[in-house]
Subunit: 406 residues, 4 copies
């Protein structure tokens, strides 16, 4: 066993750490305020990208701290899943960081899909500008009318018709849909309900300006608009796109989703671990600088035990996620299903508890936007539902466990 | 022992229940949407009261379902604390309900303060319009610069000068400060640091248009502005008001706070219990109408156990609160300190868990404003800090418990 | 509402409290040691009743603190379920107390069965000596070969043959089976699998010296033999008893079990609440008298928060149980099914946590028999299974809750 | 990073796994019964070693599966801490296993002490027979009269007098003291209260037949005598042993304890993880073979979620412990204090919960000795106190964490 990171990973960690400390964290609060000022309305048509973010994107690209999530040493740094994991953790320290490194969801997942499954033309037209950070993208999976935790419930359709496909359906929680630079969505729908269970669905690229695409509204997630990305509800009515927009062929939807799955889960979880570390640090600093009842707050009641529990929970969560990353790298996603589902349950719940503790130590300051904590709390809570609720993933872990005894 | 409610309480319960069912719940969603449309900006100066609410206020007043919180049979229905408790629970089913019955915080607490401690002139000038629902009020207690959980940290000052007092200090989380009808705040500050520990502070009425009063901003509480009430930060610089604005005399701040304490806690907790019942009902209905994996969601995984746990937790919480109300009625606040602190810890935590469960069953719909759940979640979380964090109240319960052994 | 106890209850509480303080608690430790000395072997045939217990039984009888559980003012004090509840709590402070007042399970339940459903002859022969504390009895329900949480799994049979019934089957966890004074068991078995679902089973009195009755062994419950009562496994092979031993007629098993259910649950739970109060008191006293790291243990880490949580949990548990008792008294067992199942889940779990906390504060002393805590821990854990596991009762609460929405 | 075990570790894992499956597990139940039959009395003088265990010890020695805990390739297999860890996990599957491989506490810790710190003579006289499995030993640390979680409370004394030391004091929870082959104890006591804080205590070898050594009693740990080892209380009154029995010199007690600490903690925790895996497997098998309410028990209520939670908790616990072992191997105990304290808290609590779940699924069978579960439950609970209660270790983790901010 060896728990140390590779030289390459260590170097990238060091550089991203330094970039975070020097460039990102110092302007976080100011950027968040600017964002609330510019992008506070529910009307996404008024939203704008933030200039300080664009500037830092250029700087990060210049430092080659760009597309680090991509296991390609031309386009990124060629980091494996386990090498990128600690880097993603660092980005998780601030909600504004991931985009700066062009490493934010859902664009990362979409880039991976196009990188692994896209045609040459699809790559040129859609992937290249995403990799350059010039456009943004959306993923359309969840539907309002059905329990989307069971993907077979999906009602949207992608029907072949000559050289085109006709797309119908309503999606929501389509993150990034409100961004002024959002150009297209990768849309999943039912193509052939007579095919084998995992060959019924397709994924197709839908430019957002295609006739029949109507953005209905932006949703708040626990009070947060998450502008200028937003979580949108979008209706597609008889939308026609050429069959060349279908990714990897009709019926390949589940196969692609499966491949997209593992690394994205690692990224999300490592960022959440970063948010947990940041929350813990904020809790300690606050607890050491505020006084009540003649003592530092950190020394009151069970606060120190809560600090210890946070440390123990984070360390376990990180090891579980790093192990999952190592398993994906060495045995593939298909042989890592327990691990991938387990982190999806463990890490958001861990983050929820640690942010909650940190907020409690901050008092009123923890409830508003004067610290990143309320934002982390909303993110943590949303992560317990995004990409399937906890319960669906526990069912998966359980099914695999019981399967050992048959 | 007798766990049944008095005839008077039962009658009021029945009427409020009917009013909720017929008038409040049917328009809840529409009112919330209207509110997000009209009052979505952080700039409170643009906020407006909602017409449908004003109409229902008139209707409730007409039905004599008005000021029910007040133990006065002229101004309210003369309900005792334990009689009002189940009525408050019903109002808790909707975030828009309390104001409709003129029973929303912090106005109720302020009305109680003026009712019990106000001078004749103070009552005429400030209490009467509040009782009529024509104005709104604010309570200024928490300060941003210190840990306000320890009230002795308070830095604001109320200094006697001739016939006036000079008031300085910054308060935040002053709920209602953004409301267009807000007229005054009851402000607590330090008058004499040489006096006995609980005679150092005073409460004074500050009209919001007094020179030197500057509203700085409205805070979001877990993403919610809670417009058109709002949670404000306000700075008072050399504010001069006549000494006749001081409530019950200089140095009486703690004595008043103590009296204000108990019933308000009961109201908050019972409303939270109502929110929990509503959340449980929503969870069950959603769970019974959505399908996944070939089954109603309610039948999947541990969902039914969670329903049982919710029922058991709510029933315990309600009994604990009713018992506290009965104790206040029969033995007074001073002899009910364990009970009053206990419900402050137990009930918000109970609500937090049940709303969380209900959200989890709703999936995406639980995250946005399509149901009252996200609002309840923010309220529940805020209640764990409002009026002192859980930890301070556990310390109180513990201190009283250990005291029995000395 | 009125949370105060009746005059009659208050008087009995006062007397039992005094009896506990003066007579029971002072000899508890010595009696437990004597018991471990005399009755330490797994061979129940060597067990003997304890003389100090017999002496206190005589004293309690003399004080008319006898059969208090029985709602009959000739045989007991005529206490209702809600009046006996706080008395049972007091008895729960010591594991040796219930028998001293002739109020220990399963004899109480058996006495209730015979009192309510027994024939005149059955009462004379079996109930009278039980009421006098001269004999002990056993209840045979759980079977080793099937999941007894589902009573319809029961495999034992009670078959009519002329004037007799023939009884076959194996029962375990038959408490009291090892006691030298145990005379008979009330045995439940299947009589007619063609009858309606709740009319298939019967209860019959089986004298333990009937041919074909073989006690196989005494079981330990979490390491405790609970001598001289014991938890036995017993095999019945072609046991013949006269039909007059059947209680209330063949097929009445479930009806009787139902009636036996509610009050017994209240007793168990109130005793558990007493054990929790005792554990909390022991924790505080220990925590105030031991020093570590320059402080009383009670002041270290989160100990004081744990004390507060214990107080809040006990108070909620007590109110829940008292309310259930009141509901049984006023509306009957059939209309109190949620309440009766709820306390079965809530109270043993509450006790488990509080005993655990008290043990943790005691360190090594909490693990052995130097305090009552290890015994309480075993009892608490066993109560989570006895009379149906938590999960079965949560399923009941859930089923009734969901039923409201159909 | 590399989460795979070394070739040497993998080979040993495979051999121990096979030995467990073929030789240990098949006779576990029979050995436990034999033990309860032979060694059931609290009078340890009657206890005897078990023949089947002795036979398996010989067999394990013959297979070179002996002293595997010792990082010495002559005496053991030269396994590092991280290599032995998964082997210890396998031994944890059965309470009878560790002694069979001569890997049971406290002998392992005592052998390590003598191996690292003993003089040549001490090794020859005391270590060699221990390594051969011919004698047993005891460790005397905890005292009944003080809170031993704070080692500075220790009252026992080891006073220099000429060529001897005079030893006085009472120890309890001295595991192994009841074993017929127990020969000596390593006893810790205060030598010089004027020395620097961590140089005041000494460790000395006390042969149990030395005059002045009085074994007072064997304690039960949650009802378990754990014969034929036992947990003893022993009184030393003016016991005289030669100074050559002092280990590593007077004043070296803490230094030795520190060195003994880390690896022993890994062993304990890995065995607990093995017990958790065994418990989980038993739960699943039971749940799949018992029926209730028309379904396998495993499919009822939240049981499958509990299985998933168990898998996720075990996997996290194992990774935390393996990481701690790796850290000890690579950076030493002194730089692994957070890790060593963290596993001491996390793993026993994890085991407690998983055993509890498994017992709940077993019903009555889980309470008695028909499965290993009740034994595991007692062990898990005891581990939360042994070697310092959870709270002391959380305080350590917290102290180190807060220290980062100073």
């Amino acid at each position: 066993m060896d728990f140390s990171h590779s030289k390459r990973a260590q170097d990238t960690i060091q550089q991203v750490q330094q970039f975070m400390t020097e460039n990102v964290l110092p302007i976080e609060q100011e950027v968040m305020q600017l964002n609330r000022k510019l992008n506070n309305s529910e009307d996404w048509r008024t939203w704008q990208a933030l200039k300080p973010i664009e500037e830092l994107k250029a700087l990060a690209k210049q430092h080659c701290l760009w597309n680090l999530f991509l296991p390609d040493d031309q386009l990124g740094q060629g980091l494996s899943c386990q090498e990128y994991a600690p880097v993603a953790e660092l980005m998780g320290h601030s909600l504004i960081a991931p985009e700066i490194f062009n490493c934010n969801a859902p664009d990362t997942g979409n880039m991976e899909v196009l990188y692994h499954f896209g045609s040459t033309q699809q790559k040129r037209q859609w992937l290249t500008p995403l990799l350059a950070g010039e456009t943004r993208s959306v993923f359309g999976m969840t539907e309002p009318a059905v329990a989307s935790s069971d993907a077979t419930n999906m009602q949207a359709t992608i029907i072949e018709e000559g050289d085109n496909v006709i797309v119908n359906g309503t999606k929501w929680w389509s993150t990034g849909l409100g961004h002024p630079d959002a150009q297209f969505m990768i849309f999943m729908g039912l193509t052939d309900s007579d095919a084998a269970k995992h060959q019924q669905h397709s994924m197709v690229i839908i430019p957002l300006d295609t006739p029949g695409v109507t953005i209905k509204r932006m949703l708040t997630a626990f009070g947060e608009l998450d502008a200028p990305y937003g979580h949108g509800e979008v209706e597609l009515t008889d939308v026609v796109v050429p069959k060349t927009n279908v990714i990897a062929g009709l019926g390949k939807g589940f196969a692609i989703a499966q491949g997209r799955l593992g690394p994205g889960r690692i990224h999300h979880c490592m960022r959440a671990i970063g948010a947990a570390e940041r929350s813990l640090a904020l809790a300690i600093k606050r607890g050491q600088t505020r006084q009540a009842f003649g003592n530092q707050i950190i020394n009151l009641g069970g606060n120190k035990e809560r600090i210890a529990k946070a440390r123990m929970a984070i360390d376990q969560a990180r090891l579980l996620t790093l192990h999952a990353a190592w398993k994906i790298d060495n045995f593939g996603v298909k042989h890592s299903m327990t691990e991938i589902s387990a982190i999806k349950v463990v890490i958001p719940n861990m983050l929820t508890e640690i942010v909650d503790m940190a907020i409690q130590i901050h008092g009123g300051a923890g409830m508003c936007h004067d610290t990143p904590l309320a934002g982390f709390a909303a993110m943590a809570r949303a992560l317990r539902l995004a990409d399937g609720p906890d319960e669906v993933h526990m069912a998966m872990v359980s099914r695999l466990e019981l399967g050992k005894y048959k």
